[in-house]
Subunit: 441 residues, 2 copies
């Protein structure tokens, strides 16, 4: 199981950082277990790694196999929690540079924005490739994925005929109601479920995340098994529980005036895992004028861009480092007889060793600069470990949100831009609001 090392935060935490929060954590644990806290209707993710639908899981694996057999590309249409988890896992298991990842089929994420040029590029790319579409939307009416789905559905029908298209569209949506569910039933698409009790940002271990992940050739069962291990380990109350430690420490640091939490990775492939984490924490805690602002950096690259600010800028930062103990491969620093760069003291050492010392040196430097560091220690960049990481961050987020005193499972602020957008787009029923907004603009 993963661990958390608080050594580099100790000097910034008050003596009672844990003891004063222990009762609150115990209460949060109960609320998560019993679904009895604020937002309890959306805590279906808590037991998910054990209680998931095995029959659906088998259908996911079979659909993934079919996609792998008949498609060069899988287009995943979804926004927010409907794509971030899958993208996070697929990149972290593969590469941030999709030219290097060589997934078969290649996975593209679309319908998560409104860029004309980005969508046109993908349409061009698909011209000479067999592809399938996984459309992911609880309601089927969210603007970005709905518009993209109209386009890709039309492309599929043009290419394969209406009947052929039906066999290449997979709909992950509400179990019973909604626009997409209705369409899927009438067209006969294979469907998977976005459970009612699991919000978007907690949905990566449902069909929402698992179908694209499995289609990319990743072992979804091992991912679930890692999550299940974490679920069991993190259910044990007390000061040794890494999720309790993380939730308490970040809450204490927030209370001590830190305003920003930087998630730090040392692998380029970690970038979108950090994006997933930003939604998880930002959307769960950023409300009622509160919450640590979630940001992320990639080290050592960003030590040469954001490093100056972290070392000496406004002292409102804390960092959470996710460290993988091992690399998959080994690479040794070559010897240079001329020692042009003066680095022969590294000759024959592994790059992993160099990275390790960079991380240790950075921890000390940032502590000296006034930035507390929490270190999440994970084993390897594999499915089981990533499953642990996912559940760890989800569970700690639930605890942390309850410690903060907010409902970690709602997102009332996401509606504001949508309502304005609908009005400005001329949606029937929004005429009064439209007039009012146009006046302001």
């Amino acid at each position: 199981m993963l661990k958390i090392d608080l050594t580099s935060a100790a000097g910034f935490l008050p003596d009672d950082w844990f003891s004063s929060r222990e009762a609150g954590l115990a209460q949060a644990r109960t609320m998560l277990r019993d679904h009895s806290g604020p937002g309890g209707d959306f805590t279906g993710w808590v037991r998910l790694p054990e209680e998931y639908d095995r029959e659906e899981f088998a259908r996911i694996q079979a659909a993934a196999e079919k996609i792998r057999s008949d498609s060069q590309v899988l287009v995943v249409v979804g926004i927010g929690g409907s794509y971030l988890g899958a993208r996070a896992v697929i990149e972290l298991m593969g590469s941030a540079d999709h030219r290097l990842a060589r997934n078969a089929p290649e996975i593209f994420f679309a319908g998560n924005g409104l860029s004309t040029d980005a969508l046109c590029e993908l349409i061009d790319y698909l011209k000479d490739k067999d592809f399938s579409v996984n459309v992911i939307s609880k309601s089927g009416t969210t603007t970005e994925p709905a518009v993209a789905f109209r386009i890709f559905k039309a492309l599929l029908e043009e290419r394969y005929g209406r009947e052929g298209a039906r066999g290449r569209i997979y709909a992950t949506t509400d179990a019973r109601k909604g626009a997409l569910k209705g369409l899927a039933d009438s067209e006969g698409y294979e469907t998977f479920v976005v459970p009612d009790a699991v919000g978007g940002r907690y949905s990566v271990l449902t069909a929402v995340g698992l179908l694209p992940i499995a289609a990319a050739g990743i072992d979804a069962a091992a991912l679930m098994e890692g999550a299940r291990e974490a679920m069991e380990a993190l259910d044990v109350p007390g000061a040794d529980n890494p999720a309790w430690q993380y939730a308490a420490a970040r809450n204490a640091l927030y209370g001590a005036g830190k305003a920003i939490e930087l998630l730090v990775g040392y692998e380029p492939s970690f970038r979108f895992f950090a994006e997933w984490w930003k939604q998880l924490y930002g959307e769960s805690e950023g409300k009622e004028g509160r919450g640590l602002f979630p940001a992320s950096v990639e080290f050592t690259a960003d030590l040469h861009s954001m490093g100056q600010y972290i070392q000496q800028g406004a002292r409102i930062l804390m960092e959470t480092v996710v460290r993988f103990r091992t690399s998959r491969r080994e690479l040794l620093v070559p010897h240079d007889p001329d020692n042009v760069d003066g680095l022969n003291f590294l000759s024959g050492k592994s790059l992993q060793f160099v990275a390790e010392q960079a991380m240790r040196g950075t921890l000390l430097a940032h502590v000296d600069g006034g930035v507390p560091n929490l270190v999440v220690e994970a084993e390897a960049r594999d499915e089981r470990t990533i499953g642990q990481l996912i559940y760890f961050f989800e569970y700690a987020c639930g605890l942390s949100g309850y410690l903060l005193g907010v409902n970690p499972f709602d997102q009332p602020g996401v509606e504001a831009y949508k309502q304005n957008m609908f009005a400005l787009l001329g949606k029937p029923g929004f005429e009064a609001r439209r007039a009012e907004l146009e006046l302001r603009l």
Copy 2:
């Protein structure tokens, strides 16, 4: 020329936000022009778009042509300012997804981190491809690029022989001294100059950025021409100067308690331009315990992840939106006879129109939520406009740093991790520090 629209920030700015800063801006302008302010030795970028070395520029174009003729891949080895500018421009002109960009040659950035797996993936990828290397380092001794260069140099020599490798290595480095310059001279590599008077984060319009940019098939002359237009326009003092407006407004908002500036793009391809901007502002202003923390988001995607925090989290945010007025292509929302998703009120409208209303609606929503928005209005996603944007942000950063009262051209905090890393790596001469650090760890 680009403009800045302050409408959505007006309600958050004190009445004297500009007038009280006008004298400071005038003084900053003089210091930048005369190189007479703090860090004045590093203000060679101010007149660069007009006074660059034409002979070297022609050599850059010729080298780019040679690379395009004999290489399927160009590996750019550099860290921080030695890669971010080029990557920003290449992605913004192309695509954030390199599978879609189809640059010929393909460009890869390496030596900007210490990930074993990422480096191994690239080495594998190069196995069956002709490639060249552009190594970019003022000194030639920075650990990350130096280690990577050892590896790629050895690969080239193995593949093409020592003589063949010489014709495929391009060194962008100090004009006279340093480890890389010495090696390049003795081996006979073609060299380009990292000017003494231009710091890394301001170097994209020197050979540092221009060689990879030109090799990617981007019109470097048009980029320089855009920058020159901005240079002339922004040299005119007064309240209509967009750089003066931006510098004054962000300084006033910082003074009013905002702690984080979010750079907002609506194109996925904008992601690394935001990373370049983060280095520019974070490294220039994040010192002496001060400075807005620079972060970035991609809309509308991140309205479904960070949108909740922005709308209702801690009220310490301001946003700067970079908006491109036009798309390159046009895409219409298809009509659906069944109107399953209820979006037929958009049928036949362009996706660009939908994006435009999303942006307008978001501006109003965020203002209502207490987040001031500045909008930088750029024409098109082309070289000339991007040249304008680069110079605009550079020049405004110089002004802004002087308004803040810091030296915007040093980065004293970047050394801390390096010194620790050297000690922990066992570099000769760091023995005492090593012992001390190992005790702490």
